[in-house]
Amino acid sequence: MEIFDTLAYYFQFPQVRYALIVGVLVALCASLLGVTLVLKRFSFIGDGLSHVAFGAMAIASITGVLFSQLQPIIDSTNNMIIIMPITVISAVLLLRTGKNAKVKGDASVAMISVGALAIGYLLMNLDVFPKSANISGDVCSTLFGSLSILTLTPGEVWFCAIVSLIVVVVFILFYNKIFCVTFDEDFARATGTKAGLYNLLIAIIIAVIIVISMNLVGSLLISALVIFPALSAMRVLKSFKAVTICSACISVFCAALGILLSILFSTPVGSTIVAVDIAAFIVFTIIGGVKGGFKR
């Protein structure tokens, strides 16, 4: 009972309520596209884009410092105006690389991923920031999302809620087309579906999800939020619809449980959520194994 009393007390703080709302919304959005990404063999694109978002955040921070007149528009908490377009453009470029591209898919993801990470860290360590700025703390917070989810403002919660709503609505509206493009792009193209357009749509949604997920789990752990729920659901279910719904439920449950555990036991939020996701994956693997025999 002591745990429930502690939780009830902590829920009186607005930042805890904000964290739970944003956590659940971000987890829901990330899991929806997770199934598509896993099936399209794009599991690692989330990781690449999250590094791009980190690099973009460094650019936003340095722009805010160098052009102080832009501070009201770009500050450390409201720099989406720079991060979002850069990440979306990178997502489009990554997904557009076809079979005839000079730099093939996995190589381009790796190149953009490490390149953005290095440039981001380089920019963050330039001598333009005030001496008092806690750069290592900011980098740690951005990469691992240590506590940024517990320091959200009402404005950021509204932004996240609106973006999440748009993502869910777009996913529901274009569910059939996304399904077609996911399973057989060539067949979809042959039947008149504009596969390129829907790939672009998927790329934009992924980029948006990555950017809003940065607050929850940090850049390095976003892939876990996208991949683990989908893989867990795939252990026990077979149809696209069932896997998507199950993945969304697992993701929301794990995010909520992870946030509550991290608040109760004072652990870093991002890694606690990922640890719960890993536990869920193990449980679902066992269930899947018991149901249909263990396979690789």
């Binding site: 930042q15 806690n134 703390g137 740690c140 917070s141 240590s146 506590l147 991290s262 608040i263 004072s266």
Partner: protein, 182 residues
């Protein structure tokens, strides 16, 4: 063949674990033998102690008691909650104006190089100890630094009334009329 490889790997892992343990016990024995310590040993040991105190999360430190009833009592919260609440206090200061606040952390001092003005703060680290928030305070009464104050890095509990003030066009927060438990 496969079983043999697994057995060898397991043996090596167990061996390395024992080696690690024996390494620790060796250093403990070394520390116990005070008369045989070299200057380097003493320096290394004092550095290790210093790192332990400064790097420990607020949860695990034994803070002194302060008889102060506060509307926002940060001493009963865990380090995640303390960090996020202080962050909110600094960023949404209008919500906390004139409220009594009690906090635990480590003592820190900042001297303005231009004016020589000293600022005293209670530093609060997050769970990962990579970020920290400082809560400035002005101690009630007439006190002189350094003789009346703690050393930087010492655990401290402070209670006071939350207020904001402006200096050179920048708004800062602090606890005024603060009481300390040293």
């Amino acid at each position: 063949m496969k079983k043999a490889i697994i057995a060898i790997i397991s043996f090596l892992i167990v061996l390395s674990l024992f080696a690690g343990c024996s390494g620790n016990s060796q250093s403990e024995n070394k520390a116990a033998q005070g008369s045989k310590l070299t200057i380097n040993d003493i320096l290394a040991s004092s550095q290790a102690q210093e790192t332990t105190v400064l790097g420990t999360s607020p949860d695990s430190l034994d803070y002194p008691e302060l008889d102060y009833t506060a509307e926002v009592d940060l001493t009963v919260l865990n380090s995640n909650m303390v960090y996020s609440t202080v962050y909110n206090m600094v960023n949404s200061s209008e919500d906390y104006l004139d409220k009594t606040v009690k906090a635990s952390g480590t003592f820190d001092v900042y001297t303005d190089p231009n004016t020589g003005q000293m600022y005293y703060a209670c530093l609060i680290a997050d769970a990962a100890a990579c970020c920290s928030q400082g809560l400035e305070f002005s101690w009630k009464g007439d006190h002189k630094y350094p003789q009346d104050y703690l050393q930087v890095g010492d655990p401290i509990t402070v209670g006071g009334v939350f207020e904001t003030y402006e200096e050179d066009g920048v708004r800062y927060c602090r606890l005024k009329d603060a009481q300390l438990a040293l």
